[in-house]
């Protein structure tokens, strides 16, 4: 069984490396070790989204029963998105679960993830906090996602106001990531975020 998996990954590797998307720096796959069971993927944030310009690293694990079962994929780069856990990077996407088909490839997975970044499904959330913000405060959501992209995914657009808020919480003695999560979760209200850190 493992033989099929390895053979497939070898071939897919060629496919992704050769494809046009790689030429355009849209998607990338590389080996982590030489067993073909553990890969590192990368996707570019799609244009006209808060993720634009960001580079998102993915952990890809190939199960022994691949391609009859889907690869296990999660985000290594922190991201603010309703269908991706802001804590663990776990992804809620149908083709990574019951809609997987053996004829699908790593390339289709990466392209689907890119499409997910462009079109979130807030009614089928992985991260309830983010999904609620997406629905109730779309503008705050957009700014938060943009901010996370610039901080974690080398995104180009910085938001001075939000960074200042994080800095002021850090000055109050909180750890940076904790401060950022608290502010993101509390619609960037400093007082509430401080409360959140303390509770």
């Amino acid at each position: 069984m493992a033989n099929i998996a390895e053979q497939r990954i070898r071939r897919e590797f060629k496919e992704v490396v050769k494809s046009d998307e790689v030429a355009a720096c849209n998607i990338k796959v590389e080996l982590v070790n030489d067993t073909y069971t553990h890969l590192r993927g990368e996707i570019m944030g799609p244009p006209d989204t808060p993720y634009e310009g960001g580079r998102f690293q993915l952990e890809i694990k190939i199960p022994e029963t691949y391609p009859f079962n889907p690869p296990l994929v999660k985000f290594l780069t922190k991201i603010w998105h309703p269908n991706i856990s802001s804590v663990t990077g776990a992804i809620c996407l149908d083709i990574l679960k019951d809609q997987w088909a053996a004829a699908m490839t790593l390339r289709t997975v990466l392209l689907s993830l890119q499409a997910l970044l462009a079109a979130a499904e807030p009614d089928d959330p992985q991260d309830a906090v983010v999904a609620q913000q997406y629905k109730e405060h779309p503008e705050i959501f957009r700014r938060t996602a943009l901010h996370w992209t610039s901080v974690f995914a080398k995104g180009p657009k910085k938001d001075k106001e939000l960074e200042d808020k994080v800095a002021s919480l850090i000055n109050m003695g909180f750890e940076e990531h904790q401060a950022r999560v608290a502010l993101s979760t509390n619609q960037w209200d400093l007082t509430r975020a401080a409360e959140y850190c303390l509770s």
Partner: protein, 488 residues
Amino acid sequence: MKRQLSDPASDGSDVSEDMEDDDEYAHYYYDNTDDLDIDKPKKSDDPEYFEYTILQVEDAERLLNEEIEALCSALKVPPSLAKMLLHIHDWQRELIIEKYQQDAEGLLVESNINSEKKALVNDKDTLTGSNPACPVCADNYPRDKFLGLTCGHSFCPNCWDMHFRVQIQQGVTMGIECMGQKCKVLVPESFLYSVLTDSKLRDKFSKLCFKDLIQGHPKLRFCPGPNCSVIIFAKEPRAKKVECSLCKSTYCFKCGIEYHAPTDCDVIKKWLTKCADDSETANYISAHTKDCPKCHVCIEKNGGCNHMQCSKCKFDFCWMCLGDWKSHGSEYYECSRYKENPNIANESVHVQAREALKKYLFYFERWENHAKSLQLEEQTLQKITSRIQAKVMENEGTWIDWQYLLNAAALLKKCRYTLQYTYPYAYYMDKGGRKQLFEYQQAQLEAEVENLSWKVERAEITDRGDLENQMDIAEKRRQTLLKDFLEV
């Protein structure tokens, strides 16, 4: 037993006498035989009447096969296809036949058995060369080795075999799909058997398949009792009580959980989830606490005074309007007048939450209380049994003479059980005349159940006639309520 009690004695005896006297009328009376059969509740009168049979696995298999064969011969299709059609369309044979005769291809496409014409691909054409690579395993095979379904996606036999292995291991049977990307076409059993060689897996597939078919069949259900393997068959599936003759468990035919008349399956599920759920804790917090308007810490009001001081930031505020207390003083009630104050809106949310909690607790307490009473009355039943034993030993009547006490205890249990399940029903009812009627009948039933319980507990000083009369009244109340509110 119940019938014996609730039937006026004259009814039965008159009829049987007539029948013996005059054969001519026998036919007339047999037409209304429901009245005569003492063991079976009357169809027309008993709102809980439910006809079902208990099948062994082999019987159920035979039943399924008969249905499959009937469709095969009606449509002239192979059994494997008939089976899929029946499973997908909830075993509605007439509907399938009608649709098939109107538009066979359309039905097959709708059922994901055939692929849509326009979506048809021919992978054999896209496979290049005389020795193409399988899109799944990337191995090369001669072109004629490739296999596929009506959608045209072709893969090598090894990959199909592996696909089936993985799917069966994961418990998928009737729903195994083609391996093609976004292809929903289902794999027919005949195709699977032609590829899958491992006999153990073939066995496993057929067993799982049977389970899948029974679970999808509206008239059949596995007995949910522990380690019970029988299958219940009901001609007209309803949310009614089934008692398994083998494992003795009782449950609702439709949803398989404990019988719940007069509440229906969806409502009882909602109720049980609500009772189990912690969300009521959240509701409690919302109802009994507010956030400090200054530092947002959660504050519980534990006294009557509305002048609050936050224990954390020492801010003085009014519990009613959440405004600064300084502005209150002598003109306390002013705070309720500031309607435009957004805090009033918050206040109403709190009030709503508190009201919701109060309502829920009202029904929940009664529900719980009857559940507890049922347990206690189980002990009473045991006491009665041992007391009867003692009396028989002391030659105070025979075992049969005291049976009515056991009957009374059993009836009490039945009535209280229904009473318990009226509370979730009432909780989800909309306000109005119907609810008033329901609550009236519920109160009537409750009163009679408590009377009966009182008399059963004091059976020795209660006159037998009195007790039996009480049993009759309680059961009548139960029947009346079910007749009016049990949706059949």
